[in-house]
Amino acid sequence: MTSCLRRLTLALAASVSLANLDALAAANDTADKTSMVRIPGGLFTPFFPRDPQTDGALPSKARPVTVAAFLLDERPVSRREFAVFLAQYPQWRRGQALTVFVDAGYLRDGPDAAAPQTVDKDADLPVTQVSWFAADAYCAAQGKRLPSTDEWEYALADDGRNQAALQQQILTWYERPNSRLSPVTALPTNGYGVRGLAGAIWEWTEDFNSLTSGAEPRAVGSKDRNLFCGGGSLSARDAQDYAAFMRYSTRMSLQGSYTMSSLGFRCALDVTQ
């Protein structure tokens, strides 16, 4: 019993118990919704189609799908908030997080778990340099989850409001590769009341690996033809939407352990009623 216990102790100490976090999440129906925005359900046209394409046929554009109402964090997760998470879950601190879940750049510029006690002038900036696994664990610890790509894009689409201004804002951001981050509370809101979906940071989604990679068309498990380059662009919702191509291609280039200085996240939650 003792050696079994010791094996388990070591295993738990070394492993990241995402399953435990989910159990926490399930048991804890008191996720903090105060800084979340309810996004009403509606129709959304994905950028690429969901139907399998038959060989030889012209690719058809995506049909609208229904996005159910959901709650979305009003703003990206901040460094301060992530520091609190690190204090509670030391296995996610830089140097302790496992290489299978984070790459070498993970939290290279902080925050530390110690930060909540100290004054960090950058505390309200969005946390970046976090991997998908770290973001997933953070959201699960809050009793939440990452938003799906559809949900995130649907929120960005802002029910069709201010599309030209939105496109311009995004493209301006792409042109300034090292633009300074703004505090999350200072980011402009869209019509839903959500801040900073455009022009701040790239954001992880739950199913960022949902579109099959153009690099292995032979290996695709259905006749799906969502190839990114060339012919694939014919099936895109709007071939002029350069910003969307950038977002979708960035997502497809990611692996779960990757971190980037411009890549952060926010969390989402199902609506219960």
Binding site: L8, S15, A19, D22, T99, V100, F133, G221, S222, K223
Partner: protein, 198 residues
């Protein structure tokens, strides 16, 4: 000792008992390493799955032997049967060459429709004996986590199909990734070479 420590120990003891009481009925795998090491072991993903015999398992259950892992679903009409055939041939070649023990772990992408019974029926249909083949189902979020860990893509389509990359992953006995191959025989032979040199 503070009360929280006591609760934790009780929880560990309970988990220890639970882990002892579950068994697939197959030959027991080699004992777990003393830590889920190294840091690049996929067995650090501590999510719980159900196999085709309804036993609760974590991926670390398969530590101690080489593992071939793939993600499929039973309603898959084209690629998945081909992947299974490829794996069966690979296992045959593997065992013919008297390499160290190998176990195949197939994880369902289709938590909505695949149940342990469906996996059991699939295993019977394709002649996949439980001593070598484990077929797992898990929660939707955990399926996504594993797909990310394996570097795979998948997406549920409107007609019920699931578009997914067709990767076979080879794990070392400690759970770190030795290599991957697209699910075609030509690529898969390279995995056998990897075993011999690792």
């Amino acid at each position: 000792m503070n009360p929280i420590h006591n609760v934790l120990l009780a929880g560990l003891a309970g988990a220890c008992l639970i882990s002892l009481s579950f068994s697939t009925g197959a030959a027991p795998p080699a004992p777990l390493p003393t830590a889920i090491a190294p840091a690049n072991s996929l067995y650090s993903l501590a999510t719980v799955w159900q196999d085709q015999n309804k036993a609760n398992v974590k991926l670390a259950h398969y530590a101690g032997q080489y593992v071939l892992m793939a993600m499929i679903y039973t309603h898959c009409k084209d690629m998945c049967p081909m992947t299974v055939a490829t794996l069966r041939k690979l296992v045959e070649d593997w065992q013919a060459q008297k390499l160290p023990p190998v176990h195949v772990v197939l994880v369902s992408l289709d938590e909505a429709r695949d149940t342990p019974q469906a996996l059991q029926a699939f295993a019977a249909e394709y002649h996949l004996p439980a001593d070598t083949w484990s077929l797992l189902v898990g929660a939707r979020a955990d399926v996504r986590r594993l797909s990310v860990l394996l570097g795979m893509s998948y997406q549920k389509l409107e007609n019920g199909d699931i578009a997914h990359s067709n990767l076979i992953t080879l794990l070392a006995p400690d759970g770190h990734m030795l290599g991957q191959a697209a699910g075609f025989t030509a690529d898969v032979a390279a995995l056998l070479k990897l075993v011999k040199t690792n």
